[in-house]
Amino acid sequence: MENIIKIENLNFYYGNFLALKNINMDIYKNKITAFIGPSGCGKSTLLRTLNRMNDFIENIKVEGNIYFKGQNIYSKEVDPVELRRRIGMVFQKPNPFPKTIYENIVYGLRKNGVNKKEILDEVVERTLKAVALYDEVKDKIYKSALELSGGQQQRLCIARAIAMQPEVVLMDEPTSALDPISTLKIEELLLELKKDYTIIIVTHSMQQAARISDWTAFFLNGELIEYDTTENIFENPRDKRTEDYITGRFG
């Protein structure tokens, strides 16, 4: 299996607080990897380390290496702006820009110098179809994105992310603010998307992890306790703590 991201001896500090402790793991291409663990264990922190979104927080320190397709993303040559274009991200709460649906999707493209109308039109249509939103919104793509429902907004945010044709998409609890039906739609969408993208998803729902992910990583207090195929994690956890967690004994 081909790894697309490799994490080596990663320590992460907020000020003096060690939020991630010596993490080592490979993320495999065209798979869905789920990060699970109780609140505060560092899932989001790790996710944001992968596309350097943590750069915006003051007083952080990163030790160790993260390789994206063999290149250390914390090396001087890597431009985080460019990195984020290639590693997209979807957040917990849908955060469409207060612009039209169309402009939301093409925002990243425009910033990267793509301004040809044909291309943009094509991308909008393709991504909206990819996130199964096309039929629902095709009549109002020039209306404000804020008028969509929460579930639609989240799918739009995914569309916006994949419009950049990233290689990896990071998702931080993308369905936790949504109703069950929207959640289901997005889960289906993820299974569809993994053909083209590598997906890392943070989730609080064991069921969701079990349903959609190929690999699952269980974190506790900033440590990576266990990382294995989803099947193994849920059926054959090697660590007592993993077992306790997935059977709902704590958290």
């Binding site: 431009d79 460019e82 990267n112």
Partner: protein, 285 residues
């Protein structure tokens, strides 16, 4: 890659530009303080504080203006403070949501934006002429009170709003009346915030000259006001007066006056900040 470079370059330029904007304010402030200090500091002395104004720059002093200012802010404070807090209490604790309450709130917000000099004309018409207080401290203080009332009310309202509902409910649940709850829980909790806002408004009153010129505090006054009905002058007007004197030295006297004014303002504002930091009650959430 070229485009990314250009984008990052733009960002850097913008960063520098906005930083320069911020720096501009800082630089201006330093230049202003420096130019005033360098002109005025040599003229500061005890005599300057205790002398009367004079036609000789060397003998000119700020005493009557200083006391006039103190009188003015003292009266202004005792007039505006109870009215301001009372109004805020009424609006926050008593008034029901209604068109009328909305109107009062809108009205207060609008009053906050009325130029100071208009208040001067109000003072001239109502206090100086209609009520016949003449060009006295009380006319000035009443005018200033009206001028700063909106700010006091608005900041007091903010402070009152910050009182957690749970505290009020707890008080009521112990069988207290509204006023008892206000004095027992609401005011003690909100007071630091109220005081901070009030003191800052008072310091504004201290620096205002325009309304007082209209009310008529512009004259040579050779004495210390003893009652609120005496004529008076205040620091900003005395400074204004000196600044427009033709003798070059008076420019420096004016600068010395400004230093005194700024020191007083600084003192007052520090009191506000200390109050805020020291007495701010923090309720754990």
């Amino acid at each position: 890659m070229d485009i990314t470079k250009r984008r990052k370059f733009k960002n850097r330029i913008f960063h520098v530009l906005t930083f320069l904007c911020t720096l501009f304010g800082v630089i201006i402030l330093s230049v202003l303080l420096f130019s005033i200090l360098s002109k005025g500091i040599k003229w500061l002395s005890l005599n300057f504080l205790t002398n009367f104004p004079s036609r000789f720059p060397k003998k000119a002093g700020i005493y009557p203006a200083l006391l006039g200012s103190l009188w003015l802010i003292f009266l202004t404070a005792i007039i505006s403070f109870p009215i301001g807090i009372g109004t805020a209490l009424y609006l926050e604790e008593y008034a029901k949501e209604s068109k009328f309450t909305d109107f009062i709130k809108l009205n207060i917000a609008n009053l906050a934006g009325v130029p100071a000099i208009i208040y001067g004309m109000l003072g001239l018409t109502i206090f100086v002429r209609l009520l016949g207080f003449g060009r006295s401290i009380i006319s000035g203080a009443l005018t200033m009170s009206l001028l700063i009332l909106p700010t006091i009310i608005i900041s007091s309202q903010e402070a009152l709003k910050s009182v957690p509902d749970s505290l009020k409910q707890a008080s009521y649940a112990l069988g207290t009346t509204k006023w008892q709850t206000i004095t027992g829980v609401v005011l003690p909790y909100a007071l630091p915030g109220i005081l901070t806002g009030t003191i800052l408004s008072i310091s504004r009153a201290l620096g205002e000259a325009a309304p007082l010129i209209v009310v008529g505090a512009f004259a040579y006054v050779s004495f210390i006001p003893k009652t609120p009905f005496d004529q008076f002058t205040v620091l900003p007007i005395q400074i204004f007066n000196w600044a427009s004197m033709p003798k070059k030295e008076f420019q420096n006297v004016a600068a010395a006056g400004i230093i005194v004014l700024l020191i007083i303002l600084l003192g007052i504002n520090s009191i506000a900040i200390i109050l805020r930091n020291k007495y701010q009650i923090r309720i754990k959430d």
